[in-house]
Subunit: 343 residues, 2 copies
């Protein structure tokens, strides 16, 4: 069985290439091709496994039916979940997705954007490092369809989908304060990312609303690469001083799980010695010890929104308003905060 081309099936069937192409693209009826001929073509194609070359098709039609997805890390549970939703929705609409991880490196991300572009993706979805303003502006100038999620560029108008990082963190911090915790630490990443900045602000706002000033020393900003050891240092620092904290907010799931590891190692009891909460969660957060109260991101909604906005963009030639969505998070209360503390 040799590889079949359009011309082969045309020849075999004694019809024109035009007819075959038209029929296989569902344009048989509108071109008044007889039912019999259509059936003949369709059956032959199916029987002999005729596979049209998408490269040629894409080149000819000027679109590839492919979407590019650029995320920090496909192995991270949050991104892999969103990727799953995006892929499922995209497939429903006939798109395949090309993905690539930037590993938080702006240079890699920039190259990825260009690489996706030269592969003629029809649209781009990016959870950006937020350090490629130039590329983002290039995309805008070219009117290339793209939507950002998770991380966006506050100073550049674009389509994006994010969650309410500020309010989510404020709420979970208040939850802690309402339970009688007075000295709340915040372990987070070094600044640079918008969601992280928003979470810090939410934390501070909650303290302020409770008439507590957020001591600088309660906020620990650590580097992503060496977070394993730095979380440990941060916790030792927060818990060992004379004025030890009685609660810690972790700004993301892997900091929280490492935090839990460290707390166990240090023999600190959660929530008795210190209560903890996490922004974003691991699916196992309900079976860790103790189960961790978390701010849950609406993964499905994020994926749906992103695809919806992007496909709208791709479909329409008229320039539309930028669409931005800020989705609500959900506070999942578990036992890592204990019950009310009277001191």
């Amino acid at each position: 069985m040799k590889k079949l081309y359009l011309k082969d099936v045309a020849r075999e069937l004694n019809v024109s290439k035009t007819a075959v192409s038209l029929v296989l693209n569902g344009k048989g009826d509108e071109n008044k091709i007889s039912y019999d001929t259509q059936q003949k073509i369709i059956n032959f194609a199916k029987k002999h496994n005729y596979i049209p070359n998408q490269l040629a098709r894409g080149l000819s039609r000027g679109k590839s039916e492919t979407i590019g997805l650029i995320i920090p890390n496909i192995s991270d549970t949050f991104y892999s979940k969103v990727a799953g939703v995006i892929e499922r929705k995209a497939k429903e609409k006939g798109y395949t997705v090309l993905f690539s991880s930037s590993y938080e490196d702006p240079k890699t991300e920039g190259e990825l954007i260009l690489s996706m572009l030269n592969r003629q993706v029809d649209g781009l979805i990016i959870a950006s490092t937020q350090q490629n303003k130039k590329e983002i502006e290039f995309l805008k100038k070219e009117k290339f369809p793209f939507v950002l999620f998770d991380r966006y560029y506050p100073e550049n108008e674009t389509d994006y989908v994010i969650v309410d990082n500020f309010y989510g963190t404020k709420k979970v911090t208040e939850h802690l304060l309402n339970l009688g915790r007075k000295k709340v630490g915040f372990i987070t990443l070094k600044p640079g990312l918008e969601p992280i900045a928003q979470r810090l602000m939410g934390y501070k706002e909650a303290l302020k609303a409770h008439n507590l000033t957020s001591k600088e020393t309660y906020v620990k900003e650590i580097g992503r690469e060496e977070y394993f050891s730095e979380v440990e240092k941060a916790i030792i620092d927060l818990t060992a001083r004379e004025q030890a904290v009685d609660a810690i907010v972790f700004s993301t799931h892997y900091l929280a799980s490492q935090g839990l590891r460290v707390l166990k190692k240090l023999n600190l009891k959660v929530p008795d010695d210190v209560a903890i909460v996490s922004f974003d969660e691991l699916s196992a957060f309900d079976i860790v010890e103790p189960p961790v109260t978390s701010v849950v991101q609406p993964v499905n909604e994020i994926g749906y929104s992103v695809i919806e906005i992007l496909l709208n963009k791709i479909g329409s030639t008229v320039k539309t308003e930028f669409q931005t969505r800020v989705l609500k998070t959900k506070l999942e209360i578990r036992s890592s905060c204990g019950s009310f503390l009277s001191t």
Copy 2:
């Protein structure tokens, strides 16, 4: 800034399209194009963001520099980790990866294979549903480069990378028996998948080696879709009868985490009432309560091997032997089995 094409940069620079193409593809030297001209072309291209159309390039050269990855579910932690490794390695070699989840549906998987093929991927990586023998044979007949991982077709000779499911399960079951457990249950998926079958055999072999016959009633095979409720039923069944089990082996990570959830709900103490172990793990298995002894799969090695074999296949025109690798698992002992039990 309009979109630039090859002919545009040729015109602007007063050189031929040929020269531009040659230089940009790194064939300047071998075609004796002067250093100055080369620099001129390269600089202009970079400055004006010339992005060659990969569709045209691929069509012309007969390869797309794209690899297709078909897995059951990108959101599953095991597959997302392997996908990350594969993507990283592929990128190093200049390949981008197109991915798609089959969600365990053979029909979807079959369509995906054809879809990837018509997108002219240069090779395919599949963790198969094992129900598309026809497509696999088609790929073989076409001499299309592909390698299977995790799940393969025992009756069809292909390249594949798997782990030692049999021995891994045997070892972890023996670990349980060596600790004095006598009645070991096995909660697994309904048959159909080779790794699952191997794990069951490993479990039985361990029992046999300890002169225990594996009672049929100790093995619970459940459906993937409704595993949440079925794990519960299985555990109730295994623990409530007069001869309750004193240990349970879970054949995969999500069964184990659901098992832990259920055991907590039923107020059964792990490992006192029942010890548990898991084949494959969640990254949080060291902080759940109790930490779960697991058979760890060598995710990096799997990814590396798959890419290595595939790229070899793509690179060589001579037909080579099928390459198969069976990688070792690692037993990670945690406290979910307790210490030696004397009864």
